[in-house]
Every structure is written in structure tokens, then in C-alpha cells.
């Protein structure tokens, strides 16, 4: 009888197998993270020496093999800003529609499907669309406008999904309380729902900025160029951009000193990681500040 609960060989073996698997899985997880750490270290090691104030704020010289990357930085910022102006209001409206108005029918499911697909379409196909629609059909030519609109459509899903989630996090009881008092749907959204979703929306916007800044294919044929002597004067001009710059300096320029592309890559990846960390930090801050 006393042997019923005594540790026996089977239990011991199970415990060991268990520990083994735990270690194995933990190891796999670490191995997934290791390459990234290795890569980041490599980038910092090889690209670090190139980074300086001049690098960030002066123009390239010597056929792009020396000097700074300022026009590319500026260009990326311009592209992001115009893309935001186009996609944020539209994305928020779409999310409000989905969260507050849309009935549960096939049409709403079609909208959701369209959003998933917009996010999943290959970036080069977005580029083809941009060329066909904005550059050619609407006659914007290769311009900041065409490139930004292409980017906007590509990253629209990010804003929609983040906004919709933060709207749905607002308890339904609040809306009902307002409706019972005779408030219209819009009044309820404006006074209660939207103000309490702002931080979530901001998280989505920051995420969109980070995605937009890193994209190359959609802007390659729609408005970004490599060798531009002048800064853009209007949205109808072309511009340089960080992502395209990295692509070209690492593949198409002869006599490129080894460190320069690493420097460009380092700046680009830093921009993106900082934006993402901001978004994550905002999310964690949100979790602490509960209003109900």
C-alpha cells in the first residue's frame, strides 16, 4: 500500500523527459532570438563608426560613396507624413464603422476579408498598383504623392485593426447608458467611445509609421529615386528614401566602402526599432491607467 504514492522509476523518467523538453523548447526560443542579437551587434560594430552628426544631416558626396544621408532621411519622413495624412482619417473612420455601426452580415465579413488581404498582398504588387493607378491613370507621375498614397493603402490595415481593437475595448455598457439617455450614436462615439480609445489609436499610428518607413518595393517605381541632386520642392517631385538608399548602396554602387551600407542599415533599423518600442511602451502605459 505504501508503494502507491512512492516515486517509482516511471515517474522519475517522466520528470526527466519533461525537463528535457522544457530545455529543448527554451533553447529553440533562444535560438530564434540569437540571430537577431548577432545581427544587431554586427550592424553596430561595422556601421557604428560611420554614424555621426554629419552623417545624419549632410548630403551624400562622391557619387553616394561618402558623405551623409540627409536627403534620404528627409525623404522618408516626407513620405511617412503624407501617407499618414491619407491613411489615418480613413482608417479611423473604417474602424469606427466596423466597431459601432456594422451589422453582422456578409458585407461586413467582406470588409474584414478585404482588410486582411490588403495587409497580405505582396509589397511588389502594391507597387504595381501604385504605378498603374497613381503614376499613370491619375497622372501624378513618379512623385511623393504617388508613393505615399501607395504606402497609405498598404499600411491602412494597421491603423484599422489597432483602432478597432481599442474601440471595442470600451465596455458596451457605456454606450447603452448614453443611448438610453437619448444620445445619438455619433454623440456617444464623440463623447465617450473615441476619447477612451485615443491611446490605442496612437499605438496603431506609431506602428504604421514604423512599417511605412521601412518599405522599399512600393516606393521604388512610384516616387523614390536614388540620385537626386535637389531636395523635393512639392509633393509632385521625386524624393530619396532611407529604404531605397540602403538597397542601392548595397547592391548597385561600385566602389562602395564597406562601412557605409552598414551605417545606413543601422540608422534604418534604429528608426524602426525605436518607433516600435515607443508603441510597445505606450501599450504598457495604457494597461496601468485604467479608467474603469
Amino acid at each position: 500500500m505504501s508503494e502507491m504514492f512512492a516515486a517509482n522509476r516511471l515517474n522519475e523518467r517522466n520528470a526527466r523527459v519533461q525537463k528535457l523538453y522544457q530545455l529543448l523548447l527554451g533553447g529553440m526560443t533562444v535560438m530564434l532570438m540569437l540571430p537577431v542579437i548577432a545581427i544587431l551587434s554586427m550592424l553596430i560594430y561595422k556601421g557604428g563608426p560611420v554614424i555621426s552628426f554629419e552623417f545624419l544631416f549632410t548630403n551624400p558626396t562622391n557619387g553616394m560613396t561618402a558623405g551623409g544621408i540627409f536627403p534620404a532621411l528627409l525623404g522618408t519622413m516626407l513620405l511617412v507624413m503624407v501617407a499618414l495624412v491619407a491613411s489615418v482619417p480613413l482608417g479611423i473612420a473604417a474602424a469606427i464603422y466596423l466597431s459601432e455601426y456594422a451589422p453582422e452580415n456578409w458585407f461586413t465579413r467582406a470588409i474584414n476579408l478585404a482588410i486582411i488581404n490588403l495587409a497580405g498582398v505582396p509589397s511588389i504588387v502594391h507597387a504595381l498598383f501604385g504605378v498603374g493607378a497613381f503614376v499613370l491613370f491619375f497622372r501624378f507621375g513618379t512623385s511623393i504623392l504617388a508613393a505615399s498614397l501607395t504606402l497609405a493603402i498598404m499600411t491602412l490595415p494597421v491603423v484599422i485593426v489597432a483602432t478597432r481593437e481599442s474601440l471595442q475595448a470600451v465596455p458596451h455598457a457605456f454606450r447603452e447608458a448614453c443611448w438610453n439617455m437619448g444620445a445619438t450614436r455619433w454623440q456617444t462615439i464623440r463623447r465617450i467611445v473615441l476619447p477612451n480609445a485615443i491611446t490605442g489609436i496612437l499605438t496603431g499610428v506609431i506602428l504604421e509609421v514604423s512599417r511605412t518607413a521601412g518599405e522599399t518595393a512600393p516606393i521604388m517605381f512610384t516616387g523614390a529615386a536614388f540620385f537626386l541632386p535637389l531636395l523635393p520642392q512639392s509633393v509632385f517631385d521625386q524624393t530619396m528614401a532611407m529604404s531605397l538608399h540602403l538597397f542601392v548602396v548595397s547592391t548597385q554602387v561600385p566602389n562602395m566602402p564597406e562601412a557605409l551600407p552598414f551605417g545606413v542599415a543601422l540608422v534604418l533599423i534604429s528608426m524602426v526599432l525605436i518607433m516600435n518600442s515607443l508603441s510597445i511602451a505606450l501599450r504598457m502605459y495604457l494597461r496601468g491607467k485604467k479608467k474603469w
Partner: protein
């Protein structure tokens, strides 16, 4: 106004018809919540509705202020006339809802300051004058038996108050609409007995200005407050009568007497 003499026991003075319910049926999908119900609620009376759970009481309230509009599963047949106007044919539903205040059992404090919670309805109706709003806020909070507890912290968040306080805040909000019809659905569940008494006193006073529908599972509360009472059972309005009659056994249907005596429910 019609005076009604009642076998020497109680009088009931019936005012204009505030709510005219005819052949009302409510279902959610295939589930029937209320079937073929007809009765009237008169102006300036406290109309009680008693009955066990799932008898259709709450569904009835939702149909009155047209909440079926935003609930796609809810289907309403028959008519409800408010002030003689068919509610299903109303164009501006929001106007209708502004005249009807409703308090549900679940306390809801909006994530605004206490002041803004109560000032919301007047603001939605266009009131901008700060002094006027101050008066309304204080009056409604006093009537909801909440003023003393919050008067020094009107800026604190309504959604962070205790459950009982949030329920009183909900009542204050309903009162701030200055409604013609006030509907309360088991308001005392979230409130302690002493506060319940205070609010009951307020309701008795309010009767002069407002028509009140009081849904309650505390039959004694109905006896204390309601002029006339309806008994709902299994989706039907079994009977409507002068409250005192129902409690002294002068009922049309024996089930009413059984329920009132506590034999089921």
C-alpha cells in the same frame, strides 16, 4: 381624469394615458419574451410590474424606449403609444428617449467626472449655462441620495465609484433628463436598504411631476410604492390592478395571489 370608486376599499385616480400598450409581442430570434400583452400606464402614477425572472419585464422596458433599434436580434410586434404617438413610427428616436429615463439593475458610471455624468443629458439637450447646470446636477444628486457623498469630489471619475454609488449615479443621470416617464428596473439590487428607503421617498415625491414604472422583484416594495401593479408571468401580463387589491387577495387570476403570497418565484 376619471375617478374610480373601488368596492369601498381603495380609490384610484387615473390620469391621461401615458403609455398605451396593445398586443405587444417581443422575441429574440425564436425565443418569445413577451406575447400579446395589452395594458395602459397613466400619467403621474407609480405603475409597478412584478413577476419572477424571465417573465418579460425587462424586455418590455427595452421596447418602450426603442432599444430594439440597436439590438438586431430583438423583434417587436404590436404597438406602444407614448403620449398618443406610436413609438414604432417615430422618426427621431433620440427625442423619444430623452423624454424617458431608465435605470437598469447593472450600475454604470460613465468614465467622466461625477459632475459631467449628471450634466451630460442637459448638455445634450443644449444647456450650456454653467450656473444652470450646477443647479441641475445638485438637484439630481440630492434626489438620488448621492449628493452628500460626492459633493466634495464632483470631479472624481464616475466609473471608479463603488457599485452602490454608481447605481445612484445612474438614477441621478436618469433624473437629469427631466423625463416625463421614469422606468426603474430592480434598482434596489445594487443599493443598500437604507438608501433604498430614501430613494423610495423621493419616488413618492416625484410622482407629482413624473410618471413612474417600477419593475421590482420585491413585492413589498410594489405594495409600498405602486398605485397600480401588473403581474407578469412567462411572457404574459396576467393581470393589472390596483395594488392594494392584488395584495388583499382580490385578484382576477389565482396565480397572482400565489406569487404575491410567495408560493413561487
Amino acid at each position: 381624469m376619471v375617478e374610480v370608486k373601488q368596492s369601498g376599499k381603495t380609490d384610484a385616480v387615473l390620469g391621461n394615458i401615458k403609455l398605451d400598450v396593445k398586443n405587444l409581442g417581443i422575441r429574440y430570434g425564436q425565443t418569445v419574451a413577451l406575447r400579446d400583452t395589452s395594458f395602459q400606464v397613466r400619467e403621474h402614477e407609480i405603475f409597478g410590474i412584478i413577476g419572477p425572472a424571465n417573465a418579460g419585464k425587462t424586455s418590455f422596458l427595452k421596447a418602450v424606449n426603442r432599444m430594439d433599434m440597436f439590438d438586431t436580434g430583438m423583434h417587436v410586434e404590436g404597438t406602444i403609444k407614448f403620449n398618443g404617438v406610436d413609438t414604432s413610427k417615430v422618426r427621431n428616436v433620440y427625442g423619444l428617449r430623452k423624454r424617458i429615463g431608465v435605470v437598469f439593475p447593472l450600475p454604470v458610471g460613465l468614465p467622466l467626472s461625477v459632475y459631467d455624468n449628471v450634466a451630460l443629458a442637459p448638455r445634450l439637450s443644449g444647456e450650456k449655462n454653467r450656473a444652470e447646470l450646477d443647479v441641475i446636477v445638485e438637484r439630481c444628486l440630492r434626489r438620488a441620495a448621492l449628493w452628500d457623498e460626492v459633493k466634495d469630489r464632483l470631479t472624481s471619475l464616475g466609473s471608479m465609484l463603488s457599485g452602490g454609488q454608481q447605481q445612484r449615479l445612474t438614477i441621478a443621470r436618469a433624473l437629469s433628463q427631466q423625463p416625463e416617464l421614469l422606468m426603474l428596473d430592480e434598482f434596489s439590487i445594487a443599493v443598500d436598504p437604507v438608501t433604498t428607503m430614501r430613494i423610495e421617498d423621493v419616488l413618492k415625491e416625484l410622482k407629482k411631476e413624473v410618471t413612474i414604472i417600477l419593475v421590482t422583484n420585491l413585492v413589498q416594495q410594489a405594495r409600498r410604492l405602486a398605485d397600480r401593479t401588473a403581474f407578469f408571468l412567462n411572457g404574459q401580463c396576467v393581470e393589472v390592478g390596483i395594488t392594494e387589491d392584488l395584495f388583499t387577495g382580490e385578484v382576477k387570476d389565482s396565480r397572482t395571489r400565489d406569487y404575491v403570497d410567495g408560493r413561487f418565484g
